[in-house]
């Protein structure tokens, strides 16, 4: 009973609100074969670089390719792990420091699976999806984010 859906956009304009995340959890109460959820939330960090503090990240993406890559990651995660369902949301546009820019949600009958699956998915997103973060400082200057 895997809810593989056709390809849909994972992008959301702006920050991902905590209400949206809470509501996603709530919606899974009807799926009673699930015994374990695992959630990753990426939050914009107020890094200090050369005395300047990051106020926000402005995200852009090569959307067609990114959605294709998200789809491939999803397919491969379902193949590798016994997941009941998974959801990925990534922000586009401006996300202020302290706000959520990435929400990955995996569910399975058993807990051990979700720990492994979540790490696999988040690392694949960081490595393979053409999303670009521009770190905007408080003085409105910017630099391009590099994933470490």
């Amino acid at each position: 009973m895997k809810d593989k859906k056709p390809m849909k956009s994972v992008f959301k304009e702006g920050a991902i609100p905590s209400e949206f995340i809470g509501n996603s959890i709530y919606k899974h109460q009807t799926k009673t074969n699930i015994g374990a959820h695992n959630i990753f939330l990426g939050q914009v960090r107020a890094d200090e670089i050369d005395g300047k503090t990051v106020a926000a990240i402005e995200y852009t993406a090569y959307e067609d390719m990114a959605n294709q890559k998200f789809h491939e990651i999803r397919e491969s995660a379902f193949e590798k792990f016994d997941l009941t369902c998974m959801h990925i949301y990534h922000s586009l546009g401006t996300v202020k420091s302290g706000e959520i820019c990435l929400f990955v949600f995996v569910s399975s009958p058993r807990r051990k699976v979700v720990f492994k699956a979540l790490e696999y998915i988040v690392e694949a997103i960081k490595a393979d999806v053409p999303v670009f973060g521009k770190e905007i400082f408080e003085d409105e200057s910017h630099q391009w984010k590099v994933n470490s």
Binding site: T60, A61, C101, L102, A127, V131, G133, N147
Partner: protein, 77 residues
């Protein structure tokens, strides 16, 4: 052939545009890259990968006429 080329992130800052169409002779991705390098001299100082038809390709790949994209290092999440 007429090829659509898309630029992202710091590459779009160099080209000063997000997208353009160029008339390119048949050949390899490396040929197109030389054209772009002479058009945008700062491009050679930048780190990027090239996608054709939304897949990353090597420089010795044949141009098919499909959309090309110049992609700086990914920094999602």
């Amino acid at each position: 052939m007429l090829i659509t080329i898309k630029y992202f992130g710091q590459i779009a800052e160099v080209t000063q545009k997000d997208e353009e169409q160029l008339e390119v002779s048949e050949g390899l991705v490396s040929g197109l890259l030389s054209v772009l390098n002479s058009k945008y001299s700062d491009l050679k100082n930048k780190d990027f990968q090239i996608a054709q038809h939304q897949e990353l390709v090597a420089l010795d790949t044949e141009l098919t006429g499909a959309e090309i994209a110049l992609l700086p290092p990914f920094s999602g999440g």
